[in-house]
């Protein structure tokens, strides 16, 4: 099985989630501090979309990490079985 590309690994996904999350937070703060049409509409549409994307990236990172550990465990398990033979 080929290893996952670098950008799909947990640390990269978490870093991406943090960056996207910061953009989302900036738009939310702008919507509150600059209460005019465009910032408010932007915060409640694009901003919240980015926030959801950041959270999904974080969840993907957790899944990727769990899968990575599971694969590593199986690999180690297979090696130890062959060693015992």
């Amino acid at each position: 099985m080929t290893p996952a590309p670098r950008w799909l690994r947990a640390p990269s996904l978490v870093r991406a989630a943090c960056l996207i999350g910061l953009l989302s937070l900036a738009s939310t703060a702008a919507g509150v501090l600059f209460p005019y049409a465009l910032p408010v509409v932007f915060a409640m549409s694009v901003g919240q979309g980015l926030g959801a994307l950041a959270f999904v990236s974080y969840l993907l990172a957790i899944v990727a990490e769990v899968l990575h550990h599971e694969l590593a465990r199986r690999k180690l398990g297979g090696r130890s079985e062959s060693e015992t033979r």
Binding site: G21, L25, A29, P35, M44, A54, F55
Partner: protein
């Protein structure tokens, strides 16, 4: 920039700051993805941004009902100035001076009060933003805007009747009301027309020429 006056807005900003601190800390330090880091990130990417989004939405929705927000686009400048002018006797200004309407006078009179009225009002608000930024209203002078901008539909008399009964003995005492009852119910005649209680925003009618002579029902038609 305006410092928020509502407690909810401060809660939103607090959540933003806490969340941003967690995310920046993770980006700078890059700690290993252990259980503690995962939990802290769940707070920084889930709980606090969720709270910020919820409170930010409530604050934003409340803000969109304020007169200052409606007047923040220059094409509404004349409407805003008229409503805030203590010397103005236009229907809109008289309502704006009433503390029951107060800062929310645009929304109170123009909101749709049907079952899904809130959603419809907000969708129409999004249409306004679209027209302002992408459909050319932003580049129009105030004079041009006053000539062209109309309500999407004729003004609904039911909005007047939220406060004015429109059926009581005092209302019936006015000789013109009773024969117009059916026409008022169907919005064929507007309460806010020249021959009745006067235009809500009379200065805009001067720019609309024919609309003045068009009779009561033509008050602020859709484009």
């Amino acid at each position: 920039m305006a410092l928020p006056s509502s407690a909810l807005a401060w809660v939103c900003l607090l959540c933003v700051v806490v969340s941003a601190a967690i995310l920046v800390h993770h980006l700078v330090r890059s700690p290993p993805l252990g259980p503690r880091t995962k939990l802290v990130l769940a707070l920084g990417l889930g709980l606090f941004p969720g709270l910020a989004a919820t409170t930010g939405t409530v604050v934003g929705m409340q803000r969109t009902t304020e007169r200052e927000f409606c007047g923040s686009c220059h094409v509404m400048g004349a409407h805003l100035r008229d409503a805030e002018d203590p010397a103005s006797t236009s229907l809109a200004a008289r309502h704006a001076h009433n503390p029951f309407f107060g800062e929310h006078n645009c929304y109170t009179c123009h909101a749709d009060y049907s079952m899904i009225g809130y959603a419809i009002t907000k969708i129409n608000g999004l249409k306004h933003v679209y027209h302002y930024y992408l459909s050319g209203y932003r580049d129009q002078s105030l004079e041009e805007a006053l000539q062209q901008i109309r309500l999407y539909q004729p003004y609904d008399n039911a909005n007047c009747r939220q406060c004015h009964t429109g059926r009581g003995p005092l209302w019936r005492k006015v000789a013109e009301h009773v024969p117009l009852e059916a026409a008022l119910d169907s919005n064929a005649v507007s309460c806010a027309s020249a021959g009745c209680h006067g235009y809500a925003h009379p200065f805009s009618k001067a720019h609309q020429g024919a609309a003045l002579d068009d009779g009561a029902a033509s008050t602020e038609r859709a484009p």
